[in-house]
Each structure stands twice: as C-alpha cells, then as structure tokens.
C-alpha cells in the first residue's frame, strides 16, 4: 500500500508525437482513482507508464517514497489487470494465481495459503483446477483479479478490465471490485472510457484529454461543477448544451443574449462575470435543467424553438429543439412536444455555467 505520485510525466514517441504532456497527479494511499477520457486521450499510456510497460520520457514517478522510473515492471511491486485478462492459457486457475509468487520464490505453503484465500474472496474455490478456456467471461475476470490480489502489491492497476463483459455482469463486477479494493485498502488506478463506470467506482476521477489533465475531482463534483467546457460536455449523457452568446448589462442584472434568446444571469453568478460584460461567452446548461412548456405563453427565461429529433427512453424523453443552435432537453415521457412544431424551453438559469470561449474555463466556479 502506497501513494502514487506523477510529477511532470511526459511521453514522447520516437516519431516525435507527444502523447502525454507533463502531467501531475497524486493518488493517495488507499485511494480509488479512475482515469477517464475519450479514446486517444492517453489514459492507457499513463497507466502503462506507471506499470513500467512504457518508458517515461521525462518527469518523476514515485510509488511510496521510491522513484521507480528506471525500475522494470517486476521490481515496482504493482499488479495489473488487463483488458483481455491475459490469463496464461496453459496453466490452471491455481497456477495462474500462483505464478507471480512462484517467480518470487515464495514458500509452497505461503503460496497455497494466499491462493486459497484469494479464491475464497472471489468465489473461485470450485474452479481452481480448471483451465481458463473452461471458464465463463466473468470467472476469467475474477481469476485476473485474483492474480493481482495474491501478490499483495502496493498498487493495483486496472486497464478497462470490464469492457469485454456484458452489461449485467459489468454492473455486478463493478461492485465486486469496489468491495475488494475497500476491503484490502490497496491503492487503485483504474482506466475506463465509460463515464458511468468512472462515476460509480472512483473515489476521485481524473479526466484526461489529449494527454492533459482536465480535472481531478469526486464524481458528483465533476458533474455539478465541471472545471471547463471539455469536462462539462464529456461527463453526462446527453452532453451539456453549450450556447454561444454575449453578456450585456440589462438594468441591474447581466443578461446572456444571442439572436434567438435573452436570458437573465442570476445575481449569484453575476459577480464572477462583470469583466465579461459586452464580450462573447459560452452558456452551458444540462438537458435536465431545461423544461418544455407547451402553454405557448412567453415568459422570462423561456426560449421558443422548433422541435426536431425526439428520443423516447421510456422513463423520459430527449427532445432536440432548434433555436439557432440545437438545444437538447430531458423531459417527462408524456410531454406533448411534436416534431416540426414550436415548443417553449424554460431555462433554469440557477444551474447555468458560463465558460470562457477561448480557454474553455468555467467562470462561475469562484
């Protein structure tokens, strides 16, 4: 058990491509840290650098108090679970789990004790003599986890370990992995591209984009207070609406306006935005904070648009309405909006975020 510290870690390939641009990240002892981001964001590369499977071009990687940049994977005292499980096909489940201990020349009784204990935790007692190909997908997944926990390493590294399982099993294995990590108290770095997985599992989440860290925060904080436009649109489905417009003084209050809408900025947020008066700005509002009003009455903070795509999910309706930009609203499934007809959208401006159009920074976080 140990903290993991990344200091200005960079990854540059022989062909000159810089995959990771000097990132700083501290994973506390016993913490469950999730790395999430779109494909190509270098989340796997970062994990593999921690594992020692990729060279670190520059920067310092510390596990505990040790700088491990130049140590081989075998000397870092980490354990890794791979996306394809990487079980040794010619070995039984028992031998798969015992392999790492045998290599390290543990005593036979100690190996037996640890493997049996891990098998107990994972419910694999009945499968110990089987070969991997005789197991179901979920059991293989368990063996891969078992191989990691018998080693009692300082850090667990999980590289999209659930992406080959079906949806139901995935939900179940998520809970299982959380349970094991909490029980053992081992530091965990977990890579996934699935935002629900990230939000469900992580103590904290590190959002990556193009080899840069966008935000590190607890799950709901990420959702409610995204640090920038990238996180705002990456986390949440459907994505947060981003609308370009201008801030103008309107009496005592600031107003956000463009060709199709004029919305009042709530007093609580105005303070941060004084300097943007008269400038371009991006308004961000999640679909669930826009409701549909079919009464046809014009009122404050109501924008009228033409209904385009309607997606029916059963428990809710996703309505795409066009008012200059396309605006996505999440509504009651019985909402009577119809394709091609106008609808009033009520913007809940208390939930609005404002982003700098250039830097993408969230201006309303204070």
């Amino acid at each position: 058990m140990a903290r993991v510290l990344l200091q200005k870690i960079r990854k540059k390939y022989t062909n000159g491509f810089e995959a990771v641009h000097g990132i700083d990240l501290e994973v506390a002892d016993g913490e469950f840290m999730v790395l999430v981001g779109p494909s190509g964001c270098a989340k796997s590369t970062t994990l593999r650098m921690v594992a020692g499977l990729e060279d670190i071009s520059s920067g310092d990687l510390l596990i505990g108090e040790r700088r491990v940049n130049d140590l081989s994977p075998s000397d870092r005292n980490i354990a890794m679970v791979f996306q394809d499980y990487a079980l040794y096909p010619h070995m039984s489940v028992y031998e798969n789990m015992a392999y790492g201990l045998r290599i390290r020349k543990y005593k036979r009784e100690e190996i037996d004790r640890r493997v049996k204990k891990a098998a107990g935790i994972l419910g694999l007692e009945e499968q110990l003599e089987r070969k991997p190909k005789a197991l179901s997908g979920g059991q293989r997944q368990r063996v891969a986890v078992g191989r990691a926990i018998v080693r009692e390493p300082d850090v667990f590294l999980f590289d999209e370990p659930l992406s080959n399982l079906d949806a139901k099993l995935r939900v179940h294995m998520r809970a299982e992995i959380i349970r094991i990590q909490k029980a053992l108290g081992t530091t965990m770095i977990y890579v996934t591209h699935d935002q629900v997985e990230a939000m469900t599992m992580g103590d904290r989440i590190c959002v990556l984009n193009s080899g840069r860290i966008m935000q590190v925060a607890a799950p709901l904080e990420l959702y409610d207070f995204p640090a920038n436009r990238f996180v705002a649109t990456f986390i949440g489905s459907p994505a947060m609406n981003i609308i370009r417009g201008q801030l103008k003084k309107d009496g005592n209050n600031l107003a956000f306006m463009n060709q199709t809408m004029k919305l009042t900025v709530p007093p609580g947020k105005s303070g941060f935005l004084e300097s943007y008066n008269g400038k371009e700005i991006d308004l961000g509002l999640r679909p669930e904070h826009i409701s549909i009003d079919m009464s046809g009455k014009a009122a404050a903070d109501v924008v009228t648009g033409e209904v385009g795509i309607i997606e029916l999910m059963g428990n809710e309706k996703i309505i795409h309405a066009v008012a200059g930009d396309t605006i996505i609203c999440r509504t009651d499934p019985h909402c009577r909006a119809e394709k091609g007809r106008p609808a009033g959208m009520v913007f809940n401006m208390d939930k609005a975020h404002f982003f700098d159009p250039e830097s993408g920074m969230n201006l309303t976080l204070g």
Partner: protein, 275 residues
C-alpha cells in the same frame, strides 16, 4: 430459400463428394501398393485386372530389402529430414518471434521472400546452387542437401511460426513481466509452452517436405540416393515394381503424420503450412 427436400439432397451430395474425394486420394495409393505386389506376367498381360485380380508376389519387396540399396537411402532420407527440421526450427523460431513482435514491414519482407522462394522455378534455382555448392565441395554431401532444403523451407517455417507467435497476445508477456518474471523466464515459462502446438505442426510439415523433396536432391546427388531419388532411379531403368515398393515406403510416414496433423490443421496455419 431452403426446404426440407433440398436439405436432404445437399447432404447426399456432400457424402457423395466426400466419397469421391476419398476415392481419388486412395486410388493411386492402392494402385502403388498393388504394383509393388503384382507379378510381372500379370502386369504385362494386355487384359490385366489391376487393383484386384490374380498374380500376387512378394518378390519385388524381397528384392528391395535384399539389394543393400534400401538401408543407406532410408538412412540418408531420415537423417536429412530430421537435421533439416531441427535446424529450420532453431533458426526460424527466434527470427519469427522478433518479427511477430515488430511490425508490418518485416512481415512484408517475409511474405515476399516466401512468395518468391516458392514461385521461382526449382530447376532454374537448383542449377546455380549446385554450381556454387560444387566449388564449396558440398555436392554429394549430407550438408549440401540440408542447406538446399533449408533454403526451400525456412521462409515458410518462419511464416507458420510468426502466425503462431502472433496468436499469443502481447498482454500475456506483459502480465508475466508485471508478475515479476524477466524476459527469458517469460519466454521459457509462457511463450514457449503456449506456442508448442504451432511449433510441432511446423516441424512435422518441414520434416515431410524434406522427406519428399526430389528436385534439389536430384541436382546435388551423385552417388548415394535418397528414397525419392531411389524411386526415380528404378523407374528410369524400367524397374517399375521396385520403384512402387520404394514409393510405398516413402508414403508410410506421410500417412501417419497426415493422420496426426489433420486434427491440428487450421486454415490460418495453412497460410504457410501447405507446401
């Protein structure tokens, strides 16, 4: 658009074809065996019945076993096939492992040399090879034929083995590294055991290829014949019955190995595995 009746017809057609194919394969083998056991009078009778019929004799086999020519040829064929196999696997395996872990450009080189070495006329290549071997004193030596066979088989052993090693996901080796094993221990304890079936298939195919090989042996041999040469040698002198006996002897290990191999054959292996 399938109905019950069409399904049954298809099945009948399938088994008919299966029978036909078996017959086409079996017929020349049986004929070969029969010729090695037929009496010359019967064979040269104009209205002879070939496969079944009278006139069985063991004379030709006795002649083959008694002539003193069988055992040296058998020994030479066995020796050359076995040494070629061992050398080919030892030389190709490390190269194939590296290629399987490197990338497309190497694979392209391999596939091109494989293709070229297969498509160029053997009678054309065998000539400069034997001229070169003459000046190196390799003609009429075991080493010479082994080297010639290696030229022939190396590209495709390498090809099968690249396929075998490629089928081992890299994450398996990485898992072994993370588990604490070094490069060598990983090769010995993970890569080698997992690729054993592919290596075995490659070895058997090479062995058969070398065992059957005729053209290079013809060019590079003056005195001691291999079994295929011996077969041709008798035929050339009109010894059709002895020739058939030799051909039968060559065929026995082929049938045995084919029987073993057919269970392990996959379309992918045939990529390089079929001659």
């Amino acid at each position: 658009m399938q109905g019950n009746r069409r399904g049954i017809w298809k099945l009948i057609l399938l088994y008919l074809s299966l029978g036909m194919v078996s017959l086409i394969i079996l017929y020349p083998i049986l004929l070969m065996l029969r010729i090695s056991l037929i009496s010359p009078e019967e064979f040269f009778r104009p209205d002879k019945a070939l496969l079944i019929g009278p006139g069985w004799t063991l004379e030709h086999w006795k002649g083959v076993f008694g002539s003193g020519l069988l055992w040296p040829a058998l020994y030479k064929s066995l020796y050359i096939a076995t040494v070629t196999t061992v050398m080919a696997v030892l030389l190709a395996a490390p190269a194939a492992y590296v290629i399987s872990r490197t990338g497309r450009r190497w694979k392209y080189i391999l596939i091109m040399s494989l293709f070229i070495s297969r498509m160029f006329p053997e009678v054309g290549i065998a000539l400069p090879v034997s001229v070169r071997f003459l000046s190196w004193n390799l003609v009429d030596t075991y080493l010479g034929i082994v080297l010639a066979h290696l030229i022939k088989v190396l590209p495709y052993v390498a090809w099968i083995l690249v396929g075998t090693f490629e089928a081992i996901p890299r994450s398996l080796e990485e898992a072994s590294f993370v588990d604490g094993a070094g490069k060598l221990a990983t090769l010995r304890r993970i890569v080698f055991p997992v690729s054993m079936p592919g290596i075995a298939v490659a070895a058997m195919l090479v062995w058969l290829e070398s065992w059957n090989e005729f053209t290079y042996a013809l060019y590079l041999t003056v005195s001691e014949n291999t079994l295929p040469l011996q077969t041709y040698y008798y035929l050339n002198r009109g010894g059709i019955f002895n020739s058939a006996a030799y051909a039968t002897i060559i065929t026995v290990p082929v049938i045995v190995m084919t029987f073993i191999l057919q269970r392990h054959l996959k379309a992918g292996m045939l990529a390089g595995g079929v001659k």
